[in-house]
Subunit: 231 residues, 2 copies
DNA sequence: TGGCGTGATTTTGCATGCAAAATGAGAGTA
DNA sequence: TACTCTCATTTTGCATGCAAAATCACGCCA
């Protein structure tokens, strides 16, 4: 990393969380290149923090597989397979379907009301008129999915989804979708809520699966650059 | 936690990993009770370490959802739903099936040889003659599954399975299985290897699923005891 | 009794210091 | 040149210190 690492300090967080989120982001965006060696001292200099929070952040990222510790004192940005994003997406899809199945059984009226509230907000912004609307839509979408995961009442699942299977690893924004895509997505959300209200786990899971696969199809379509080979 | 926490120091690890693994274990076994408040100072006293490694361990356990940070300076052992184990098991099953699908496509001859080697060792110990054999069997079984996950060539998946979905959260030992169970399990392993050799992802996934569900059925059968109140 | 300030104490967050281990550069030898 | 051995430097692991924030105990007042 010769060029300065992106170190926008995300709102008010303590130093450890900042370090974690900045380093993670810089790995995800490639600003910290695969295989690049990391030292606590350099990172602490770059981020303007002491080594302690950097150490904690690195330790977590090692656990999550973003950073590798070689034999001794050598620490490097992990090397990712090309299909990393698809893999994460696929595992996430399995986990989300499982979540919504549980949510269909366990959601409280409050959970459902919350989903309806978020859904209404998204509806009001679809189709989005400006960048702010895209931004709101992206955030509301994340909130929608997060609410479902929470409704599954599984702390483990929640932890999984917010770290190892974080959306930021797959898609970051709604801005790549057409209005038609967004309408379909909205309808999916509507139907997911209905399935949860109907206490129909399989229905909910099926729609959720379709919902995610539809999004993925769109993403990989857009990403269709030269890239031959592959199934 | 009034009684002394179990602090068997697991082989040669650095202080942070020791702290992580000891605290995690004591949570899993209930020696650190749900909802119990944790302070760095007390833990560091109990484990004979300074606060630094304790802090790092706690940070990781919070990320994984074993420990909760309440609003301010209050940190507690997370509260687990009764069906926690089943949930973890179910998510793990999904992830393992996905792993073996990928493994069936991506496994190298070396991976397969390794699986055969482990399988042969397990065969030699089935049925197990003594406790040592049970111990070896348990470890070989973990190695078998770990080898498959590695063969899936997905660092993210590997990280997931070794932390959030760690087997220790579901079943810890083979000693609850009958000889007949163990034979069936061994046959599953054999067939999984065959499916991988045949490059048949779906076959591999199906057997894997059966393999895990068979084990789970046995576990929940045995677990069907009165279970009075809790401490 | 019950609720609410208020100050002492505890607890965390982070920086820093130091020792042990690992890395890397350079000299010496075949 | 290629290899290895040695030693200076770097790097990590951990303990400790200190300030800011939160918790807790206690007394006051209604």
């Amino acid at each position: 990393m010769r060029v300065a690492m992106n170190r926008i300090p995300p709102q008010k967080m303590n130093a450890t969380e900042q370090a974690y989120s900045i380093i993670r982001n810089n790995i995800l965006t490639g600003k910290l290149a695969e295989g690049e060696r990391l030292t606590e001292t350099r990172l602490s200099g770059d981020l303007g923090l002491s080594r302690t929070p950097i150490r904690e952040a690195i330790g977590r990222l090692i656990m999550e597989g973003f950073i590798d510790r070689q034999q001794g004192y050598t620490t490097r940005v992990a090397h990712f397979p090309q299909d990393e994003a698809e893999q994460v997406f696929e595992i996430r899809r399995l986990a989300e379907c499982y979540s919504v199945e549980r949510a269909a059984r366990l959601a409280t009226p409050e959970d459902i009301a919350e989903l309806r509230r978020i859904h209404a907000a998204m509806k009001a912004d679809t189709p989005p008129r400006d960048d702010a609307a895209y931004q709101r839509l992206t955030e509301a979408n994340e909130a929608f999915h997060r609410t479902i995961v929470n409704a599954a009442r599984s702390p483990r699942l929640t932890a999984l989804m917010t770290t190892a299977l974080d959306v930021s690893m797959v898609v970051r924004t709604y801005s790549m979708f057409s209005d038609k895509d967004l309408m379909r997505s909205l309808n999916h959300h509507e139907e997911i809520i209905q399935a949860i209200e109907a206490r129909a786990p399989k229905w909910a899971a099926s729609i959720m699966s379709a919902h995610l696969l539809a999004g993925a199809a769109r993403v990989s379509e857009r990403a269709a650059k030269p890239d031959p080979a592959k199934e």
